[in-house]
């Protein structure tokens, strides 16, 4: 037998056994991916902090105050401060990496606390809940490790913690106590019932991915007419915007006006992929922006016909935000941004930032006007709120606001 034949036989032989535990391998991959994504976002925050510390200058650390001055984008970097922050690798209570506010007072956040600079190691997620717009947070007794999950907050009392491949946890007392639910998959439903949330989770009983409705008791029901391959948007993951449910099918944006009974295509053009989109606003005017890789420029879109068509909304004139110097750690990092962000604060409107200065969109004129905002070296919009990080290199902390005016330092015991 010649070498060519030997090599061909050797390589095509493959492992002796057929693949086993495929579902477990899929679930493990999803779980690891989620943990890495969160860790990556935290690492990027740390990188930006290290690169930009000192830009915002020193501000007083107090409670619940408004900072009138807009920092100058041209302020020189304080390298010494940058070094101090780089060594810290962590801000006060940890780095907020996820969260959602369901109204002006109630919300949750996930904080990643790392004890080494390597985000793959020794990091743990802490989940905390607030009922006073972030003035105080109460730590939830879940997830003591870095194992990630998704919190579905139905109302201030009812929460479900989806642990991806383990049985979900349910709380009906604001997260003070939790119970495990085992029998949670119960057929199909034509629409998302009132009180339920849109969800895409892996059913731990069958290992199947389910796109459908989740009830406050953790019950999952597949949405009968959901488009094949439908996935929730980046935000909102579980709620309608202006009464419209959105979902991504690959690059296509789908919308439902009747709680998931029927779905229509929503044309966002070819410049963005629906799977990267966050949609916010109200029924009269919707906004969307996409999550991009580090260094890419996100797109800002708006729609006045319930998402049927979208037009590009030019960003306000921006300053020069220092993009993280370090490249993505792996070739497939998904999360990242160039400093630009947009968020919608209910009752206040659309805000856009280049990472330093802020503008608010005047709906009547569709023009951005500068607004004073708390100084920060990096901003992290989380659902319905803004988090400002590293406002003071001497006292690094994270601050949160749901209206862009009143700010509270995040303190989780």
């Amino acid at each position: 037998m010649d070498l060519d034949s030997l090599l061909r036989e050797e390589f095509t032989a493959g492992p002796a056994e057929p693949p086993t535990l495929v579902d477990e391998r899929i679930a493990a991959a999803r779980r690891t991916r989620r943990r890495r994504d969160l860790a990556t976002r935290a690492a990027l925050v740390a990188a930006v902090l290290a690169a930009t510390a000192g830009v915002a200058g020193i501000v007083d650390i107090g409670t619940r105050h408004t900072v009138p001055a807009v920092p100058s984008p041209s302020a020189p970097l304080d390298r010494a401060a940058a070094m101090r922050l780089a060594e810290e690798t962590q801000l006060g209570p940890g780095q907020p990496v996820d969260g959602q506010f369901i109204d002006a007072r109630h919300g949750w956040i996930a904080l990643l606390r790392c004890t080494t600079p390597d985000p793959d190691q020794h990091c743990a997620l802490t989940y905390a809940i607030t009922d006073n717009a972030g003035a105080t947070f109460r730590k939830l007794p879940i997830s003591p490790s870095a194992t990630a999950g998704e919190i579905y907050m139905f109302d201030p009392d009812h929460l479900v913690f989806d642990r991806w491949t383990e049985p979900r946890l349910v709380s009906d007392n604001g997260g003070r106590t939790w119970r495990e639910v085992t029998d949670t998959s119960s057929g199909t439903v034509d629409t998302v019932p009132a009180g339920d949330l849109l969800a895409e989770v892996v059913d731990p009983a069958t290992e199947d991915g389910i796109f459908g409705a989740m009830g406050p008791d953790g019950t999952l029901r597949r949405l009968t007419n959901a488009p094949v391959g439908a996935m929730p948007l980046s935000e909102p993951r579980d709620r309608p915007v202006g009464g419209i449910y959105f979902a991504a099918v690959g690059a296509r944006l789908m919308a439902s006006d009747d709680a998931g009974a029927t779905w229509r295509s929503a044309d966002v053009g070819t410049a963005v992929s629906a799977s990267d989109l966050s949609v916010f606003g109200d029924a009269a005017r919707l906004y969307a922006t996409n999550e991009t890789a580090v260094g890419d420029v996100p797109t800002l879109l708006t729609s006045t016909d319930r998402g049927a068509t979208w037009t590009v909304l030019p960003w306000p004139a921006t300053g020069a935000f220092p993009v993280p110097a370090q490249p993505p750690r792996t070739m497939d990092i998904f999360a990242g941004y160039d400093g630009r962000s947009a968020t919608y604060l209910p009752g206040s409107g659309l805000y856009a930032s280049d990472g330093l200065a802020w503008w608010r969109l005047e709906p009547a004129t569709s023009q951005f006007t500068p607004v004073a905002m708390r100084p920060s070296v990096i901003w992290q919009p989380i659902g319905g709120a803004l988090v400002s990080l590293g406002t003071d290199p001497r006292h690094p902390s994270a601050w949160i606001s749901v209206d862009g005016t009143h700010w509270n330092p995040i303190h989780v015991p």
């Binding site: 070498l3 030997l6 095509t12 493959g14 391998r25 690059a251």
Partner: protein
Amino acid sequence: MVDDSFDGFVRAHIAALDRYAHALTGDRHRADDLVQETLVRLAGAWRRVHRDAGDPAAYARTIMFRTHVSLWRRWSRRPDATSLTVDPSTSRDDYGTVDARLTLRASLGRLSRLQRAVLVATYLADLPDEEIAALIGRSEATVRSLRHRGLKALRADLGITGPDPIEPKGGSRGPRLPVA
């Protein structure tokens, strides 16, 4: 109906991914690690792969090859899994074919990661040099050099003498063995 979900892709392609990983590593446990790392990275890129209307199978293969190459240093610090070593000078007998396979396996284990990756891409994936170069992030000339040196080492271990055979030209080697 085509299942274009991540789960559906994995279920349809896991056997092929296992085969590639096994060919690249020659070790069951490392192959399992490599497949799992590939799945983790693919899961992170899944939406983007669809957005770009890409070929998930080709993307998975690229991830696997590059991961395999980049993991070389990490794995090289681990104690080796039990490896079969065969001295070709004492083991050639009537069971020559079996011996040759064992010797080949041991010899493959001594090749560099890149050399082995090039051989797998050539003989299992049947890829042209241009694609192999893109796969491992090297030039086509480097691909040819790696293959030449790899084959030379294998021939030496197997006791194959005589002039160098004509080097394989990727893309014209019989039936293509796709990822799935």
